[in-house]
Amino acid sequence: MSDAIEINGLTKDFRIGMRGYKLRAVEDLWLKIADNEIFGLLGPNGCGKSTTMKVILGLLEPTVGSCQIYGVPSTSVRSRRDVGFLPEAPYFYRYLSGRELVRFYAKMCGVPKDEIGDRTEDVLKLVAMDEAAHRRVGTYSKGMLQRIGIAQAVVHDPRLVILDEPTAGVDPIGSAAIADMIRSLKERKKTVLLCSHLLAQVEGICDRVGIMNRGKLVLEGSVDELLEKKDMRSLVVEHFPASAEAEVRAVLEKHGAKLASVEAPRISLDRLFLQQTRDSDQLHESEKEEA
């Protein structure tokens, strides 16, 4: 089976202004993304992620090199039958309802008429927007817009889903929901390409990541591989008595190892926020029930 995405020696130049000053957005990029993988393309703003993504989507033509989606050149419209895309900060037709919007894109993707209704409801449930689907898109919050954007991206059941900054500007609860959605896409056998500059948020989702800087891919590999300090291990101990530290240090020394530091493990601020908001929501719910 061919790879979901295969980019060979991609270089993309832009012209700025009439005089034709050249800007190289992507330089000699080689990348393969396997089927049913969640790949995070990471990097700061302006590093060439979005350009790479647009080339994959056929919206831009490579200056040099080529790109294939499941073996089909990305310049061909045919390649997009298998691709769903959520643009960065999506703006949709504000006067349509969420449901109408998803139906509109289903038609665009050539979903058969008799399946449009079921598919629409299915993806609305997937993104947990079924209850707000009758509201006009103009009234949606940022997080809802992203979720309806994901719904329109997967309505035609593509094998590859490309998400550009799906969590940018979304609060931690929304981000967590989106992360759950992305995981469920993987369970549905989809390949996901995720572009983001919010590194911490994608850390827990991606199987592999690539880091781009100034148009070049500077690092690529599985998250564990890249982040793990292979020559170190941490132990998490409950009720650790300070008096035991000297003994532990001695035991480790006996085995030729060294205790580097002793500190209280921390959870991330995101996590703390989620826990707190979830707890207070539950409290609020139960109070309501009691009342």
């Binding site: 060979n8 020696g9 012209r15 034709g20 033509e61 490579p62 200056t63 040099v64 090199g65 080529s66």
Partner: protein, 329 residues
């Protein structure tokens, strides 16, 4: 290892799209011209050329672009409405200048020409007379001179319409009416009526007035010959042709010329009595409708009834006072 090749440069691609577009449009234009040319000639024939030099100074560049850009009719209409306000204020120089401008902008509507000629020939002398204390206080010679001067202005104006409407009987008809109404010159009126009756679509009443003008200018025999020749050609079933009136004229002229019975028109079925005594008819020229021989054209209703003839010498006062009333509310 896939083949990697540099794509065409941006400028070349852009130039190619432009070049290809221009070339396609050019070829399309060339291919369409056999279809377009005859249609455009047909359309153009109905649009007289614009004399830009004549209107440029008066209009300013913006309006000139509007003019050549296809808003000619509407600009002329608005200029005419402006003319109308000058006319209401009895402003002679501006009314005249605007009438010339309106007809230079769009010489197609007969409405502009006819109204312009009438404003000049009938209204302007009345305004000037008013400034001098009214017609009643003018010596006859001055009044005559005044009317003659403006009659000429009106006739010269309507004359220009002739080059845009060479086959429109209304041009000589207007001149004929000015000749008789303003100059009281039946010979000149007859000359113009002769032109009118020779034109297609001219109304039946023109034939009758033509004969009357001939008669009034002392050409009874010609008038008689004309009506004799006309009479058998008139349709009996068209009230506008007024065959009975024509017959009465013939009988009157036979009496006047004192023709022997053998030379007279034989008694017609419609005649109840042998026509040896002329019927008395005051003026005798309210000769019925304005129906033309063929059809009625889009005609002006400025108020001058073309069939009412001849007007009393001061009738234009009444008429135009009425016009003022119309416009003042």
């Amino acid at each position: 290892m896939p083949l990697i090749k540099a794509k065409d440069n941006w400028w070349w691609r852009r130039a190619r799209v432009f070049g290809l577009s221009a070339l396609s449009l050019f070829v399309l234009g060339l291919a369409l011209s056999p279809v377009e040319r005859p249609i455009w000639d047909e359309v153009k024939a109905t649009q007289p050329e614009l004399n830009l030099r004549e209107v440029e100074g008066a209009l300013g560049q913006g309006l000139v672009i509007g003019l050549i850009g296809g808003f000619r009719a509407i600009i002329a209409d608005f200029l005419f409405i402006k003319t109308n306000t000058y006319w209401e204020n009895k402003d002679r120089p501006n009314t005249e200048a605007m009438l010339n401008l309106v007809t230079a902008v769009d010489p197609r509507p007969m409405f502009f020409w006819l109204n312009g000629a009438r404003m000049m020939a009938y209204d302007m002398p009345a305004w000037e007379a008013q400034e001098m204390g009214g017609y009643a206080n003018l010596p006859p010679a001055v009044e005559k001179n005044l009317k003659a001067r403006y009659a000429e202005l009106g006739m010269n104006f309507i004359d220009k319409a002739g080059s845009f409407h060479p086959n429109d009987y209304r041009v000589p008809l207007e001149k004929a009416q000015i000749s008789i109404n303003r100059l009281e010159d039946p010979a000149q009126a007859a000359k113009y009526y002769k032109e009118v009756v020779a034109m297609p679509d001219s109304p039946y009443y023109a034939d009758r007035i033509y004969a009357e003008m001939l008669k009034r200018s002392g050409h009874q025999q010609e008038a008689y010959d004309y009506l004799r020749a006309l009479y058998p050609t008139l349709p009996r079933d068209n009230a506008m042709a007024a065959t009975n009136v024509v017959l009465e004229r013939i009988r009157e002229l036979e009496d006047e010329l004192d023709l022997p019975p053998i030379q007279r028109l034989p008694t017609q079925d419609t005649e109840v009595r042998p026509a040896f005594t002329a019927p008395s008819e005051n003026n005798g020229f309210n000769l019925g409708g304005s129906q033309s021989k063929e059809k009625t054209n889009v005609g002006p209703s400025y108020g001058l009834p073309t069939q009412d003839f001849p007007q009393e010498s001061d009738s234009e006062h009444d008429h135009h006072d009425h016009e003022h009333d119309e416009h003042s509310h």
